[in-house]
């Protein structure tokens, strides 16, 4: 079974500053990794995903994440945040290949301060 840990439950950051949201996973097999974003009063939507290939993955809204197999991490970064990035971010993992159940982290609330 796989698991995912988001150590930071809340991250406050000033507008236009860079941000990193941390995600570590645990699995004994190859994995797919995802970041989803949830804006207030909405469902989740996919931000980006790693399936294979390049370890640097670019997503929507200027976000990117880097898959680090040796450190079992998939941290999310943005060089300059905007007020509209205020949301909750979820890291998720599934076993690679075919259909597999997705396991979500507990979420990180990003609060962008004007």
């Amino acid at each position: 079974a796989q698991s995912v840990t988001q150590l930071d439950s809340q991250v406050p950051v000033f507008e236009e500053a860079p941000v990193e949201l941390r995600c570590n996973y645990s699995s004994s097999v190859s994995v797919y990794l995802f970041w989803y974003v949830q804006y207030p009063n909405q469902g989740l939507q996919l931000l980006l995903k790693y399936l294979s290939g390049s370890t640097l993955v670019k997503g929507i809204n200027g976000f990117e994440a880097e898959f680090n197999k040796s450190q079992t991490s998939f941290h999310l970064r943005k060089p300059s945040v905007h007020i509209s990035d205020t949301a909750e971010y979820f890291c998720a993992v599934s076993r690679a290949g075919g259909y597999q159940k997705v396991t979500f982290g507990t979420g990180t609330k990003l609060q962008v301060i004007p």
């Binding site: 988001q6 439950s9 797919y32 995802f34 989803y36 009063n41 909405q42 469902g43 989740l44 939507q45 996919l46 995903k49 399936l51 979820f90 599934s94 290949g97 075919g98 259909y99 159940k101 997705v102 979500f104 982290g105 507990t106 979420g107």
Partner: protein, 118 residues
């Protein structure tokens, strides 16, 4: 455009009532999921279905059941609602699965139903 809809955004029910939460997707997806979302706990999988009339238990199925009579519709049933089932319920669907031969992985979520059980 991809769409997953849930029958209600907000529901208030009383303890012991039978509660139905409906989810409909218009993407012809094989797989559908029900999660509950609670502060500090993230999303936890209740049930999922990879085909019509098929269902599998997720991580927290106790107190819930599901029904999938048609491909586009996946219902979550609380047989006898309790206060500890007060939560946000999220439905999702995805195309990936062993029958498809194509791995898409992305889950598409509905807007959620916030359920309060008094």
């Amino acid at each position: 455009d991809v769409k997953v809809t849930q029958s209600s955004r907000y529901l208030v029910k009383r303890t012991g009532e039978k509660v139905f939460l409906e989810c409909v997707q218009d993407m012809d997806h094989e797989n559908m999921f029900w999660y509950r979302q609670d502060p500090g706990l993230g999303l936890r999988l209740i049930y999922f279905s990879y085909d019509v009339k098929m269902k599998e238990k997720g991580d927290i199925p106790e107190g819930y059941s599901v029904s999938r009579e048609k491909k586009e519709r996946f219902s979550l049933i609380l047989e006898s609602a309790s206060t500890n089932q007060t939560s946000m319920y999220l439905c999702a669907s995805t195309i990936f699965g062993p029958k498809q031969g194509v791995v898409q992985e992305t889950q598409y979520f509905g807007p959620g139903t916030r359920l309060l059980v008094l």
